[in-house]
Amino acid sequence: MKVLVPVKRVVDANVRVRVKADGSAVDIANVKLSMNPFDEIGVEEAVRLKEAGAASEVVVASCGVQGCQETLRTAMAAGADRGILVETDAELQPLAVAKLLKALVDKEQPQLVILGKQAIDDDANQVGQMLAALLGWPQATFASKVTVEAGKATVTREIDGGLETIEVDLPAVITADLRLNTPRYATLPNIMKAKKKPLDVVTPDTLGVDIAPRLTTLKLAEPQKREAGIRVADAAELLDKLRNVAQVI
């Protein structure tokens, strides 16, 4: 069984981004970029499936600028077998990414696609579901446990009130929640080996996919800033403030 894992390069989770003064974009010049944390979990899960003998090959894919090759190398250092970059400088929105991934799935014929549940930059939480829809496959989103056997995946999902378990026939799309696993650190020898693994570069044109954005960003703004309040000395003073000043209890 082949597993496809899409990965996204995003501003590192620990960076607090700023909106440019003209409101056109967030300022990501000279900011640290990393693999989206949910995608790291997706890669780890695929590699574990391979180590357990359930998967034969793990292919990672990314859509975006040339720099995304680094993200693919990171995924290969974590154990993926090869990478595919759909290279474009154009702005990519979730629907376009889902269409690009569908084209890759049609070509690669994986039985399972594992994505992160959301990217921490656009916070859309859409691509996995959209890809499943375009392929006509079942989806198991927000997965915290995955068992694959006999052409089926049993998936425990995180829902608002607790957990839910569903069973999907393969091929299927799974999106990873934080709880699914703890990604491993890539060792130096594995980072060196990853440099020799195959990395194909294709373009949206060769895949025949229209990636024109459907949403126009009119402007970006900083949210209203919350000012720090006051320090209180003890529980009694805190309670007094909450009752008599803030009047919330």
């Binding site: 499943a132 829809a133 607790g162 569903i166 709880r179 949403l215 960003t217 919350r226 720090a228 309040g229």
Partner: protein
Amino acid sequence: MTILVIAEHDNASLKRATLNAITAAGAAGGDIHVLVAGHGASAVVEQAANVAGVAEVLVADAPEYAHGLPENLAALVVSLASGYTHVIAASTAVGKNFMPRVAALLDSAQISDVIAFKAPDVFVRPIYAGNALATVQSSDAIKVVTIRPTAFDAAATGSAAAPSRAVASAAVFDEVRFVGQELTKSSRPELAAANIVVSGGRGMQNGDNFKLLDALADKLGAAVGASRAAVDAGFVPNDYQVGQTGKIVAPQLYIAVGISGAIQHLAGMKDSKVIVAINKDSEAPIFQVADYGLSADLFDAVPALTAALD
């Protein structure tokens, strides 16, 4: 202009987030239809019909809609969508699950977690864990929108009943089966809709110590939440998590206990009316957003606060 709101429910009662979605639909303007897809959910149909602003309730009653599986729900919504300008659902675990499927099948770009409508086709949504607000315009014929429940008031209930009509089921998707659910039992208010939330972080040290927060929450009639650190450490179940990837809350009062205040946690609670931080590290980032900060050992401060509430 007619808007379709997809009701979220457990076949017995309408979820509060749907009331927020109906208010959001009102902000977009136009007639509001509500779709109740379920099995044996007549009580939900009745509740939806009595919500202020609802012009009509569409009812799809069939076994395949019993558990809200997104494959079936999305196919149903798509079969109904052609008469509507907007399809709206709350950005809950259920809404996030099926709505992008609807959008892709309609070849429409979804706008996620909207916090304001500027015009019927212009929306505001947070990105980068709430550190930027994007105003976006959609050019799609049918706008597929999920709304952030805490950004819209709940629509009033108890108005005259709107008419309801049965709609035909869509094709059933066979490649997925519901196996079971394991819900966290709690007598406290629902986290996402509570007026007061008491949350614990890594500083709680273990799951047993959450009893301190339970006692405080019981006195305040509050819900109990947690940071990712507390959830990852196994102190409390995952559905307690407040933050970018957990629940977004905006209560009247948010009490953060032993929580440092990472970007990802703030994303889930910084729109609370009043924020209180109790933390022994007086440099913790949470104090930068707290209206009232108490730098003290939580193991002294929380019991003292609970006792003072008697």
